[in-house]
């Protein structure tokens, strides 16, 4: 059966609508929104960009570790293994995160890579541990 003129017209209109609708979204949704997103990401940095909605102190804890611990180190964590700690794991790379409960209290590192340690202005000196919960992260000493 040959397609009727009506079906052909409906198909042309549908394809034209699709193209025009999709094209009309490119300036606003693909470009402008992307510019805004990139600007925000650059201005805030990945840690604040992703973690700003978590509990007070979360952003500061991760930023402090990123700025004050060597890249070749292992950061201990304890608590929930999802939520904000997922972001901390990526933001602190190439530092690795290791479950504090799986390490002995005397050990100072794994396979030659030391645990992140040092002197924090308010916490004092020692090995740092990120405490993870659904609300966010806080920094403490082991």
């Amino acid at each position: 059966m040959t397609p009727t003129r009506t079906i052909q017209r409906v198909l042309v209109v549908a394809i034209a609508f699709h193209l025009i609708f999709c094209a009309s979204r490119i300036p606003s949704k693909a470009w402008r929104k992307r510019f805004q997103q990139v600007d925000k990401f650059r201005a805030e940095g990945p840690i604040r960009y992703f973690l700003a909605d978590y509990a007070d102190g979360t952003v500061e804890a991760v930023e402090w570790l990123a700025e004050n611990t060597p890249e070749r180190s292992i950061v201990l964590y304890r608590g929930l293994a999802r939520s904000a700690i997922e972001l901390a794991n990526a933001a602190l790379y190439p530092r690795l995160l290791f479950d504090a409960n799986a390490s002995s209290s005397e050990s100072t590192g794994i396979s030659g890579i030391p645990f992140a340690s040092g002197t924090h202005p308010t916490l004092g000196t020692g090995t740092f541990v990120l405490i993870s919960s659904a609300e966010g992260l806080r920094l403490t000493l082991r």
Partner: protein
Amino acid sequence: MIRTDAIGWRFTLVLPLWLALFGLVSHLLLIAGVGIPVVLFPACLVVAAAVALRITVAPEPTRPDEPGPRWLPWVCVALLAAAVGAVGYGALATGPRIWDGFVSWSLRADLYAPGNEQLARLSTSRPGFFVHSRSYPLLQPLCVGASRALLGARAGNLFLPLVFVDLIALVGQSGRRLGMPKSHAWVLAACFGTTPMWLSTGSGGVDSGYAELLLGYALCLFASGVVLRSLLMVTTAALLLPWIKPEALVYGTVLCTTLPFVADRRLHLAATAGFAAGLIAWLPLADQLLDPTGSGSSAYLLAAIASSTFVVVQGAVSEWHRRSHPNTRAIVLVAVTLLVVTVVVASFVLHDLAAHGHPLAVALVGLPSSLPERLAKIPQLILGYLQGFTFVRKYGLVYILAIALLVLRRRLTRPPDPALLVFLGTGIVLTCLAMFVVPPENLAHEFESRYDRLLLQWTAVAWLMVGPWVSALLHPGPNAEPIWANRPPAA
């Protein structure tokens, strides 16, 4: 001898060959515990390009009548440039700006980048290290990591926009090779390339860092390879599938199983062999990642049984379907027995995988106990499905058109290749089933954050079905033969 005929098509085929070669060698090196050299990525590209320039490909079909205004292709080029430019800028400007892209895909790309063997081995070989998406396949992280190691952290992110460009080319050129006039093929490419969700700044977008794009690419390559009867494309796509995302294991299994009913035996064997090879390269590595203590041999067992059973079952089904083998009954009996044994063994393996937190295994193991609760959610499921198909702001009209054409197919001439109908139908059924398997209490969230991405993966296949069909209805040409009757011979 270098061939310059059908040069556009040859360029399109370089990427899948490159991915297959690099993926295969990388997986074998990782299984052997050897680092991936920086030079491997460009070396595989050179080999892939050399192969693509030497293989025999069918010539592009020619049509004496070319409808449509001459400016139409230029409008399509401009639209595609605007679309690709946006995602290219997004990829180049920063790393992923969406949660999973940042915390999982991008991080694993850095972790598995060449020269980083010590950290990768240390973090994955010892329990206690925080490794996101531990059991997720590695092809995309390996490619992005290698690309970053070669070109730098920013320029290396252009790998995904490159895949997007090749996917657009694959859709358009496949349409052309299915007999579409040039102008129609350009419109098809533009219709796909401007799909809002690919260009969005949210999850699943090209520069979001998610693996939806690579999976959509492999699915389109598979579908296109079947309708164009290209053994190379089908084998490559089937090989890539297990390396991309966990759900691709299910897609690959089901697509290969449906193949005997919609394609000839050689294509079916090519797909099965490619898929089995992909499984054998990935599952031992998955086993190492899931179980760093090395106590389990579950995945090895699963790989060996699954792939060998798969080949036999597929062969038997194929022969049975064609009624051409003298010992059909015996083969079917053996195949069914092997299948039962596999299911029994796999059920044990499933519990083992679930104990290690494998998401699909966890969902399947918990399915029977929560069945009544899931059945009670069926009205909500149906509403969610309908909302997904008609979500114009994400997919444009592709799924609405596909469903309308399928509903009206008895009143329309020149239906597309049955394989495309079967593949798209299979994909849609699988995406719907995925929502049935997710925890019922999270259904609303899963529809919002997962279902749209599952549908996104099938948009290229949907356009491959819709585009040539609409084109044939609008411009039937002198004959009323099926669309694929004009396709070139197998290559």
